[in-house]
């Protein structure tokens, strides 16, 4: 499953006296299984791009094609189903449900897909084990460190077996060790499950681990390069 954008653009407050063009017309293709970092300074349009690719923010112009199918042509119901079944989200502030345990947070998104309880439980336990939280699964987010919470968020994003994971500055609130561990996990899952990871960042530690780096400035793609990722020692 590949993502292709055609003249994709986003303008905020288009009818006002001061419209803001967050993304200038963009043609971009991301293939299945890529590990892509979108970098750029604050306000450069990274988050807006991820939101449009993930189907949670409609573009002002152009199209987002998923295997040739235009997301903008989907009705609300189909768009929600697309996000639920094909996209995983990781947020800077983790955005876990504070009243659910780590296990329940991961199970919850699978239950939205209609999976049986036992199946959700098994998959959630497996993913939490893979991210190194086997002993923490019954803790609520408030009882976990920031790094642990972000790992739960990674497990939650991967639970529905999405084709893409959109991670918006996933390491922004993490220390160096947690960042390294999180990147190791994401890299491993990328390789094991073939999931496409697209993450926005301006953290150099993250950028060096990406196989492809896309640079944005003022809503415009200024660089798109492939690189040999550095592996953590």
């Amino acid at each position: 499953m590949s993502i292709h954008t055609q003249q994709l653009s986003k303008t905020y407050n288009p009818d006002s006296d001061f419209p803001v063009q967050a993304i200038k017309p963009l043609d971009l293709t991301i293939e299945q299984g890529e590990f892509v970092a979108v970098m750029g300074p604050s306000g450069s349009g990274k988050t807006t791009l991820l939101n449009m690719l993930g189907g949670i923010d409609p573009p002002s112009g152009g199209a987002v094609l998923i295997d040739g199918e235009d997301l903008c042509q989907l009705d609300q119901k189909a768009l929600i189903a697309f996000r639920r079944d094909h996209v995983g989200f990781i947020f800077q502030d983790y955005s876990l449900l504070p009243v659910l345990t780590a296990l329940e947070n991961v199970e919850f998104v699978m239950q939205l897909q209609g999976h049986k309880e036992a199946e959700c439980r098994a998959r959630a336990e497996q993913l939490l084990t893979e991210v190194g939280l086997k002993d923490q699964i019954h803790k609520i987010p408030a009882k976990l460190s920031g790094g642990q919470q972000q790992r739960v968020a990674v497990a939650r994003a991967l639970a529905p077996r999405p084709r893409f994971v959109m991670a918006d500055e996933p390491t922004a609130n993490l220390d160096a060790q947690s960042t390294k561990e999180l990147l190791d996990i994401m890299e491993r899952l990328n390789q094991q499950e073939g999931t496409t990871f697209i993450f926005s960042t301006h953290d150099p530690r993250v950028i060096t681990r990406a196989k492809r780096v896309i640079v944005f400035e003022d809503g415009q793609l200024t660089e798109d390069r492939r690189q040999q990722p550095e592996h953590a020692a």
Binding site: N51, G54, I56, D57, K77, I80, A81, R83, R84, D85, V87, G88, F89, F91, S95, L97, P98, V99, L100, E104, E107, F108, V109, Q111, L112, Q113, R156, P160
Partner: protein, 410 residues
């Protein structure tokens, strides 16, 4: 999972939820106590009215109902009384000879209804014998005994053994009268009834009037619940066939339409009280839920982003509100039912308001009444109102897009 999530969301802010639940619970206890008080008081008024004044059914000659003259006696009363005694649904019946006349003592004179009753039959129909506070109930001993109310005794300065003269107009239009001695003094909960009635033996009064017969048969049914209106209609129809074409059978609702209208008032009063309460409660829930959803706007945005359908978010908010209604309503009903059970044991004493209550025929000690259907109605109303209260807060969230919701900062 939604049910569990809703329950846990409710307890995110324990203090806030606790305060609202306390308000629901205490409000509900107050509402149910008030409903019980009103229903108990009105029921007491109806029961007393039936017990002392109307009985459940009465039979008259239609002429008597148009104009209560002495000669308007019932058609063939003896076979009718015997037939009524055989009816399994009738607990007791009493024939009365009634004359409007005057009672005079050495001190004063008053207009009064003179009721000639068979002492044994009357005690089976009305609790009058139990209401005798001085002296004795009528019996077949002695000459011309009379039972007067404490009010009449007070106004006419009478004591047990005092002599009074009863006068009335006989069938020929002449004044008939005789001296009677006070055998007993009674006091019922209804001051109006006490003011206007005295009781003598049927045989003494008919002898004085020079006319045999009875004007009224009062009937007490085996089934005492005044709410059993279908049964009452059923028995009335059956007795009308028994009483023949000439005599007319009426139930207490026809005899005292005002008393009957109270039955309807109970429902209306309770509905108004409940309506005011649930409206106030619903606004409280709206307030709490609005605060709660505004605090969690970003979280709802995330839920939308990860593919939670809007109808499930709507269901989540309905469940949170429903939990409030169920827990608050359940606890409120539990405490209220305990309070009502206690008051049904001890009764509610309003001795200080005795004169006022007596004017309405209410006992100074009465018992609150809340039926199982009332509890059910209150609980269902509270839960439904709490569901309605979730609609506006839910709308505030559902009109957001995932991105706009996630952009909210609270």
């Amino acid at each position: 999972m939604l049910v569990k999530l809703a329950w846990r969301n409710l307890w995110r802010n324990k203090l806030r939820t606790g305060i609202l639940l306390s308000a629901i619970v205490f409000g509900l206890v107050g509402v149910i106590a008030m409903m019980g008080f009103i229903t108990g008081m009105y029921s007491n008024m109806i029961q007393n009215g039936i017990a002392w004044q109307t009985s459940q059914l009465q039979i008259h000659h239609p002429r008597y109902l148009d104009d209560p003259r002495l000669e308007a006696v019932l058609d063939q009363p003896d076979p009718l009384l015997k037939a009524l005694a055989q009816e399994p649904r009738i607990a007791a019946r009493s024939g009365r000879f009634i004359a409007d006349g005057m009672v005079a003592s050495a001190r004063a004179t008053r207009g009064i209804q003179i009721n000639g009753v068979s002492p044994a039959d009357e005690t089976a129909v009305t609790p009058l014998a139990e209401a005798v506070i001085h002296g004795q109930w009528l019996d077949e001993q002695g000459r011309n005994p009379v039972l007067v109310s404490s009010k009449t005794a007070e106004r006419l300065k009478l004591q047990i053994g005092s002599k009074v003269v009863l006068t009335f107009t006989d069938v020929d239009g002449d004044v008939a009268g005789a001296a009677f001695r006070v055998r007993g003094i009674f006091k019922t909960p209804a001051s109006g009834f006490d003011d206007g009635n005295l009781f003598v033996r049927h045989s003494d009064l008919t002898a004085l009037a020079g006319l045999e017969g009875i004007h009224e048969i009062a009937i007490r049914l085996v089934e005492q619940d005044h709410q059993e209106l279908e049964l009452l209609d059923d028995v009335r129809s059956e007795l009308q066939a028994l009483a023949g074409d000439v005599n007319q059978v009426r139930d207490w609702r026809q005899i005292q339409p005002m008393l009957a209208s109270i039955l309807g008032q109970i429902g209306v009063s309770n509905a108004i009280i409940l309506g005011i309460y649930v409206t106030a409660m619903a606004f409280g829930i709206v307030n709490i839920l609005l605060m709660s959803v505004f605090e969690r706007t970003r979280e709802f945005g995330v839920l939308m982003a990860v593919g939670m359908q809007k109808h499930k978010i709507f269901a989540l908010l309905l469940l949170e509100s429903a939990w409030l209604g169920i827990v608050g309503g359940g606890l409120g009903l539990l405490i209220a039912s305990g309070l009502i059970a206690l008051l049904q044991h001890t009764g509610i004493s309003l001795g200080a308001m005795a004169d006022g209550l007596a004017a309405f025929g209410v006992d100074t000690l009465f018992y609150p009444e809340v039926s199982a259907s009332d509890y059910r109605l209150v609980f269902i109303t509270v839960v439904i109102a709490s569901l309605f209260a979730a609609l506006y807060p839910a709308r505030q969230i559902l009109k957001q897009t995932p991105v706009s919701a996630m952009a909210e900062k609270h």
